[in-house]
Amino acid sequence: MTDVAAVETIDLGRRYHTKWGLRDCSLSVPEGSITGLVGPNGAGKSTLLRLAAGLSRPTKGTVSIFGQIVRPNSTEHLRRLGYFDQLRPLYPGLRVDETLRLGEKLNQQWDNGAALELLNELEVPLTERVSRLSLGQQALVALSLCIGKRPDLLLLDEPVASLDPLARRQLLETLLATVAERGTTVFLSSHIISELEPVCDHLIILSSSAVRISGSTEELLADHRILVGPRGTPLRGVEVISVRDAERQSTLLVRGRPPDLDPAWRILQPDLDEVVLAYLSDRIAGDRSETSDSPASTRRSPS
């Protein structure tokens, strides 16, 4: 891995009229990683990916790809990236093979073999019009258009949303097999963590237009613990991410290694799903922050 991040944003912000779609976003996606971007609907995931693809213009800050600042209207960054839009726009009147021809005509470098391989493997009919394909097949055509560019970076916005479980697995498996060969960096978003968990080695959690946390999945798992103990017991030296109170006991998700604890507390290892949910539901923790001594429970600076 080199020093240059595949995607790096500094104080990136994008405002739509009066509302910020993304705000003060600083993050980096390591080269060669498969980084998942998780967050609820409207968290700013698509905004971030569109900014990285050069489709949108930052209101504030910068986004760079492999060290180069992305500017709409420049083609330099386009050569290195494949962008898969959430809406999977394709020309419905074009046949599948004509859609690939579009890719060939509109790109300086084009690997038709790679695109065809993907489609043939999953038996997408090449002579069918795009409008007559199933949603899953359309997603595969859109993906093959990205793969054919032989990009160094794939930006995939909700690639498996609205696909049935079989199509979902097919798409992700094909994707992984293809990118593994070339060491392509993948930055993909989803609002469902379970979709990303099996494929990602890095995770960025986005909520309310800002980055909550980012890191490798291993680090995230190693850094977080679940504490279960009597309700109302003060707790020092850890950062409480979320709190769930039952009648007698509280369940806390904390960051950092808990120091010597009252033996009343039980320590459990969370899975990724629980970590993500804790970050996404931290507004609840904010309401209950008086139960813990940690003032940092509601605010996280991007790491």
Partner: protein, 344 residues
């Protein structure tokens, strides 16, 4: 890139070609029917049997319909090809597909605009060849006033001029550029279509009212000519009621010209400072004390009819076409600016 445009527009452009060819064939057929009618004795006799006025769809009605349809060609081009050129892609989000391939937005737009625009202009230019032949047939028979609204009275008439010569292609290019620019700025095909109709119509009317009349020197017919004898001392009134301004020479000159209406002007050579001729003329009209004509003569005013004559036809054609093409270029610039600024 060009491949993609042809692939996506082949059906629509094919359809447009069929429409244009259909109109062309109709004109050729009707033009020959006119020729046949001219030799028929019924028309010479002024008989009601003349085939130009009779039949299930008389030739004069057909001429009006053809003229009417031709007038819509530029505006339709703007609505069908211009308005959705950018807006259609934005609405279907396919801009996100093409703008993330390997070519810049500017190149994408300019190539697309030129490919579709040039196709339209070539189609219309070919049709113009037939139109010129067709209106030629009509203008030869101006005096007889056979042919309906658009074609009677010559190629400079407001409803005929824009569908002939270079102007037909230039108006088509302008309407196309207008539709594209409105689509790029408004980002909605439907609004751009409506906007194209409104703006195109407004521009056409404004050009007729304020631009075209001044593109060439106007021909003036003084309606109160001073008889040659008036120069000599005579007891006769200097303004002889029997003198007609429409001498044979004048009638020949204004044959087929566009009548701009009556008005006042200062006599050539008169150095007058003061109100414009029309204002001064109206003051004379309002005066009750002095005779009207004497007042005109005192102020070196002439009252008469202005014409744009046929011998200036090509001059007006190229000037107006050049203005339209320049405007289309400016509209392309606006479209490029809008597309480069567009942000998802």
């Amino acid at each position: 890139m060009i491949w993609l445009i042809w692939r996506r527009y082949r059906l629509l452009l094919g359809l447009a070609a069929v429409v244009l060819v259909g109109l062309g064939v109709w004109m050729l057929w009707a033009g020959h029917a006119f020729d046949a009618a001219v030799v028929s004795s019924a028309c010479h006799d002024g008989s009601s049997e003349c085939p130009i006025y009779n039949g299930t769809l008389s030739l004069s009605v057909q001429a009006d319909v053809i003229n009417f349809l031709l007038l819509f060609v530029p505006c339709l081009s703007g609505m069908v090809f211009g308005a959705p050129l950018v807006a259609g892609e934005l609405e279907r989000f396919t801009n996100r597909l093409v703008w993330t391939q390997g070519i810049s937005r500017t190149k994408w737009l300019v190539v697309k605009w030129c490919t579709v625009g040039v196709s339209l202009v070539v189609g219309v230019a070919l049709l113009t060849l037939i139109v010129q032949w067709w209106t030629g047939h009509a203008t030869e028979r101006i005096d007889t006033n056979w042919i309906g609204i658009g074609l009677n009275g010559g190629v400079l008439r407001p409803l005929t001029f824009p569908i002939t010569g270079f102007a037909f292609s230039a108006y088509t290019l302008f309407a196309f550029a207008l539709g594209t620019a409105l689509g790029a700025v408004l980002r909605k095909t439907s609004w751009a279509v409506a906007g194209t109709v409104v703006v195109y119509t407004a521009v056409s009317v404004l050009v007729v009212l304020f631009v075209r009349p001044s593109l060439a020197p106007q021909f003036f017919v003084d309606e109160n000519p001073v008889p040659a004898a008036a120069n000599a001392p005579s007891t006769a009134s200097p303004f002889d009621a029997t003198a007609t301004p429409f001498t044979a020479g004048v009638i020949h000159e204004i044959g087929g010209s566009w009548d701009l209406g009556s008005g006042y002007r200062y006599a050539p050579g008169a150095h007058v400072s003061g109100p414009s001729a029309n204002v001064a003329g109206q003051r004379c009209q309002a005066l009750n004390t002095t005779p009207y004509l004497a007042c005109l003569s005192d102020h070196h005013l002439q009252q008469g009819e202005f014409y744009l004559t046929v011998n200036h036809y090509w001059e007006v054609q190229w000037k107006e076409s050049a203005l339209l093409v320049l405007t289309a270029g400016a509209l392309l610039g606006l479209t490029v600016w809008s597309v480069r600024r567009w942000t998802a």
